[in-house]
C-alpha cells in the first residue's frame, strides 16, 4: 500500500502537487498521471523518505510527463537533497529547483537549523549568510560541504 499522499491544487493553470510521506516501491503516482497543465510544481516538504526503488518509480513517472510541461521542484527536504546528490535522474532535465532545505549551525547557541533556501540565493555553490532563528546571531555557519551539498544545482541556470 502506498505510503505517499498527494494533494493537488490548480491555480491559474499551474498545478501544485504536495507530496507527503514515503516515496518507495509502492509509491502510487496515478493521481498525477495524464497531467495536461503547462506548468507543474512538485512540493516535497512533507516527504520523509526516498528509497532506491522510490527513485526508480519517480524517474519512471516524470519521464512520462509531456516534454513541454514546465516542472518545478519546491521545498526539497535535506534527506531528499542527499539522495539526489547520490543518484542521478531524480531531476528532470530542464526542470527548475525553486527551493530546498539546507543545514546551518549556530556556534553561539550550539543549535542546528534547517533553513529553506531559494536556489537563486546560492551563487557559485556558496551558501548565503543566515541569521540564527533561535538566538538571533547574525551569521550561522553552513553545516555541510558546499561543493558536495550543492552538487545537485550544477545544471541550474
Amino acid at each position: 500500500m502506498s505510503k505517499l499522499k498527494i494533494d493537488k491544487e490548480l491555480v491559474d493553470s499551474i498545478l501544485t502537487a504536495q507530496l507527503a510521506g514515503t516515496i518507495d516501491e509502492d509509491a502510487d503516482f496515478t493521481p498525477l498521471q495524464g497531467l495536461s497543465q503547462p506548468s507543474v510544481v512538485f512540493d516535497f516538504h512533507g516527504v520523509t523518505m526516498l528509497n532506491s526503488c522510490g527513485i526508480r518509480e519517480w524517474v519512471s513517472f516524470i519521464a512520462k510527463l509531456p516534454p513541454a510541461t514546465r516542472v518545478t521542484y519546491r521545498r526539497c527536504p535535506q534527506i531528499i537533497i542527499e539522495q539526489i546528490n547520490m543518484v542521478h535522474g531524480f531531476f528532470r532535465e530542464g526542470a527548475v529547483i525553486e527551493s530546498f532545505a539546507a543545514p546551518y549551525y549556530c556556534e553561539h547557541c550550539d543549535k542546528e537549523s534547517k533553513v529553506l533556501l531559494k536556489t537563486a540565493q546560492v551563487q557559485n555553490r556558496h551558501a548565503p549568510t543566515q541569521a540564527c532563528p533561535h538566538c538571533g546571531e547574525a551569521n550561522m555557519e553552513f553545516d555541510a560541504l558546499e561543493e558536495q551539498y550543492f552538487h545537485f544545482l550544477k545544471n541550474q541556470g
Binding site: 509502492d26 526503488c53 527513485i55 534527506i79 549551525y105
Partner: protein, 306 residues
Amino acid sequence: MSKPERIAIFTKDDELYNALSLALSPLSPVVRSPDSLDNKTLALVDERKGPAINDLKSTLHMPWLFWIGQREDKEHIQFIHEHRLHHLIGLDAVRTPWEAELQIKKIFAGKDKWWGLKPYLSQGTTTDGFSLSDSNKRGTDQVQEILKLQDWSEFFDSPQEHLALMANELVSNALYNGPEEKRSGSAHYPIDRKDPVFLRGSELVQVNMGIDTHAVGLSVMDCFGTLDWTKTVDSLHRGFQEKTVQYKKGGAGLGLYLAFSHGNQFIVNRRAGLRTEVICLIEKNRRYRQYKGRLKSFHFFEEASS
C-alpha cells in the same frame, strides 16, 4: 585460520603510530614497519604517510590487512574492488585508532564473537530490536518506534532519517534477495519489490539498534548468508561508478550503496549459506558537516567454510 601473532603498523605519522600502538598492544605485540612480513602478521597500512604506494602494494597479499586510506570514498571502493580488500579504514584524525581497535579486536576475539552490535558498543549498552518474517511494511513502523526511544541529544539533527533509510534498504535486501538466492542458488530470479514475501518456518530477518558514547549502530541480519564479498563490493562499485537505478525485476541496485553512503562505518559479517549481517555505524557528532566529511570505512568478515 588461526589468529595473528603480531601486528605490523606501516606509517610515518608518529602521532598516529603512538595512538594505534597504545590501542592495539593489549591484543598482540606491535611492531613498526618491519622489513619482512609473514602470514602470521596482521598488517595495518597507512597509505598517507607510509612508504611509496608501490611498496605498500606488496602487503596486499596479506591474510589480515587493514588499509587506512585518505582518498575519496569512490576511489576507496575502486581500490577495494581492484585489490579484493576486506578492510579499509577511512582516515579520521580522531577516530582511526578507536575504529582500528574495534575491528581488529574482532579478529582476535574469534568468529563466534563477531556477530551483533556487541563488538561495537560499550559494555552494558542496551539495544532495541525486532524480527520480521514477511514484507508487510518492511519494519518501517518498528524502526520508527525504536528511533523514538533513543537519546539523540549528542548528534546532529537528522541521524534518524539516515538510519530509517539504511534500515529500509537493508531489510528489503534481506527479505527479497536472501531467500530467493538461497533456494534457487542464483540471483537470476528476483522477486518484484511490490510483491509480498513470506519467509518460511524459522527464517527471520533481525533488526537491532543501540547507542553508546561513541556511535549509534544499526544491525540487519538474515539467515541466508548469500550476500558474499563479491556481490557486496560489485554493488558498491556499480553504485559509485554509475549512480543510476537499474530497471530490472527486483531492487533498483542501489540499496547497499545508499546504506554505505549514509553511514560512517559499513561492516558485513557472513557465514556462507547460513547468515549475513550488515552493520552500519554513525559516529556521535554534533556537526552534520563532520559526519558528511568523514571518509567511510568498509569491513567484511567472512567465516571460512568448515
